[in-house]
Symmetry: C2
Subunit: 425 residues, 2 copies
């Protein structure tokens, strides 16, 4: 193994704490991912990426910085990576999937803040996230109250923080705000990079990201097959990696994997036997290494065949359409594309339950787990109406409201097992 200690020290990480984190991550990855039966060969690439998540990928970022490229970190699917790529920047999703430095976090955030926000603070305050330390700019966004207000506090610790404003309603005024904010962000990126946005560069970036999303849509569609050719854990992992891997290399790896899965489907080969209970998970995003619920589901007699979440299909199911000629026109197309995302922060948000129903039928799923992170008000508020609509359509549902701790893992397992029994019945 390459020794990255000097690089981590240069980035200002707390090496001891960071070693502890890597040890836990590596152990969890081995237990949950590498132990799965019948994994596709194509997962080897993603195993490698994960094994180098704080190593080789960080070295690539550091090397790119040395060549003058800018690293832009973000916490949300509303940050348009196309604009970042078009100024030759690198877009990386930042660490928000595990509790860390909770004693420091509790000093600056209210107790009832969601785990995802607390985690973002914990990785920064505990100095264990090489991504955030490598960033030339970190981009927040006014989505939920929690994040919106937390960015005001995070600015103390991340001075190079830039925040994109977002509308709450997809009205004409909301669209206008989105377009204006994406243009303001584009200008900020031009300033950061010292490069002028060019239409050809931006068109190429749109194509790159569209190809990435198309590959993920192809992968999602393959999960219709019974037996399903890939586990939910592996599918989630790929979505998680999509946020920080090189997009072209990542697309190639997903494409190769899809070719393999197509052969599996043709041979009726899967990760579980045909007829294994099938579940859609819908709700809050699951960032690395928040694998708790899918790990429980897939070791409780069911398989996940779709993630309606921002780390999942919600952030990839729309491509940017049309071919704008000028920079401003393309930015408007991007704003239009991103405003389709049916995050629960919008009111109303009818397309989300519609899509859950659509993929439940399309993937031949037997039931839906509505997953929320405690204190995430927007998704908790949607939980009732969304599950009610599903139950009214005779789709069994289970609501899980949890955090990043393992304290409730046993209780969740008991509830999931009972739910799977209901699906079998």
């Amino acid at each position: 193994m390459t020794d990255y200690r000097a690089m981590w020290a240069d980035l200002g990480l707390n090496l001891e704490a960071h070693n502890g984190l890597l040890a836990v991550l590596s152990k969890a990855y081995g237990d949950l991912f590498l132990s799965q039966p019948n994994r596709p060969e194509g997962m080897k690439y993603f195993d490698f990426v994960m094994s180098e998540v704080h190593g080789l990928r960080i070295k690539e970022l550091v090397d790119a910085k040395a060549q003058g490229r800018k690293i832009v970190g973000s916490y949300c699917a509303f940050v348009p990576e196309e604009l970042i790529l078009a100024v030759d920047g690198i877009s990386v999703g930042l660490c928000t999937g595990a509790d860390f430095a909770t004693d420091l976090v509790d000093q600056v955030l209210p107790r009832n803040t969601c785990s995802l926000i607390k985690s973002a603070f914990g990785f920064k305050l505990g100095k264990v996230c090489p991504y955030v330390e490598a960033c030339d700019m970190v981009v927040g966004e006014n989505t939920c109250d929690g994040k919106k207000k937390a960015y005001e506090i995070l600015r103390q610790f991340i001075p190079n923080l830039y925040v994109i404003d977002l509308p709450q309603v997809k009205s004409e005024a909301g669209k206008a705000l989105m377009r204006a904010e994406y243009r303001r962000f584009a200008a900020q990126l031009e300033q950061l990079s010292g490069r002028k946005l060019e239409a050809t560069k931006l068109q190429a970036a749109v194509a790159t990201v569209n190809e990435k999303r198309a590959a993920l849509k192809r992968l999602a569609a393959l999960r219709r097959a019974d037996p399903v050719p890939i586990s939910g854990l592996d599918s989630l992992l790929i979505s998680q990696i999509s946020f920080y891997d090189d997009p072209v290399r990542f697309t190639d790896a997903v494409t190769s994997l899809c070719q393999e899965l197509e052969q599996r489907v043709a041979r009726s080969e899967g990760v579980f036997r045909a007829g294994h209970p099938r579940i859609i998970v819908s709700g809050c995003p699951m960032a690395v290494p928040n694998w708790k619920v899918p790990a429980i589901v897939e070791s409780s007699g069911a398989v996940i065949v779709g993630e309606e979440g921002c780390v999942g299909e919600r952030s990839t199911r729309w491509l940017t359409s049309g071919t704008g000629r000028g920079v401003e026109e393309i930015i408007d197309l991007l704003a239009e594309r991103y405003l389709q995302i049916d995050c629960a922060v919008f009111t109303p948000n009818p397309s989300r339950p519609e899509y859950v129903r659509e993929i439940t039928h399309q993937r031949k799923a037997d039931g839906v787990i509505h997953y929320t992170i405690q204190f995430c008000q927007p998704y908790q508020m949607e939980a009732g109406p969304v599950t009610q609509q599903l139950e009214d359509a005779s789709i069994p549902t289970l609501r899980i409201d949890t955090d990043y701790s393992q304290e409730d893992a046993g209780q969740i397992r008991t509830r999931v097992e009972a739910f799977v029994e209901r699906l079998r019945g």
Copy 2:
């Protein structure tokens, strides 16, 4: 006492539950308000209003409806009552200050929803709020995530619900959204009332509401005096009543009270002796009958000399300035006025801590209680930075995070008593 049972039954109230509510309210009012020493004579008007809060005032609304006037209810200081008055409507704040029908509420809202939102649902589902039942239109607004998403659910129970969208940032785009939304609301009011908005009517409505706010500002300024001529409980009550009383009659009553208080100040006469510890309360709104914290404070050796809250100075400290000539121009002035409100839903929100500091000095307050309702993320997120800024300016602070139950009343009293001791020291 007049018998209003027929009127309540006509409105669809649950008479038994409603009787129970009135009995509790009446008892609490007697214990907390009527028992106060040295109350100004002018409070008699407000005592009468409170004694008829579900009686005479409702009869006025019902009579007005019979004459074709429209009743418009709301839950927030962002709903511009000037527009309602200008179409000859009546603006009333709706009940949100006590737990009610919690078993029904828990079926439709997440457990960790703030008490204020739960209360709005409880009064509706429990059929004990004659105001909401008398409304021709109920107006919500996209402020916090909790309310924004709860209105989607409330619409099931209140079909005549109209929601005003709000920006999250006070940018040019935010101002444009505010202007557009107020114009849309104006058009809705025209449709509801069958009346066309006229500039002269609107100017008169602006003057009426400005006069009301000016009277409340005059009252607030009188709280600079030591001894203070009016208690915090009575001042809060007046703010609470400002949301549903007739504005002209209310302004007259506040003006008379101010004249009396000016005489008191001239005589150095107060509700407590000079030198009594003085406190500013800042944070979440306190709707009728949410008197828990002020009642504890004022029976623990201190007096409240200012409420930086939406039921308090945050909703009244700005008047609408300028004299627009046309309807649209006046609506723009209103949008400008209301967008000054420094609710924690905005990011950033610097004027709020500035104003708390300003009135702390102006009212010669010894300390600040930062008050939040549990699960109110925006104010909970501001609690840390706001109290930090105050402590940095050598202003002692106490953070209270609570709900509408009385379960923590003993614990809060202990903490408040210790805080008052600190202020004395």
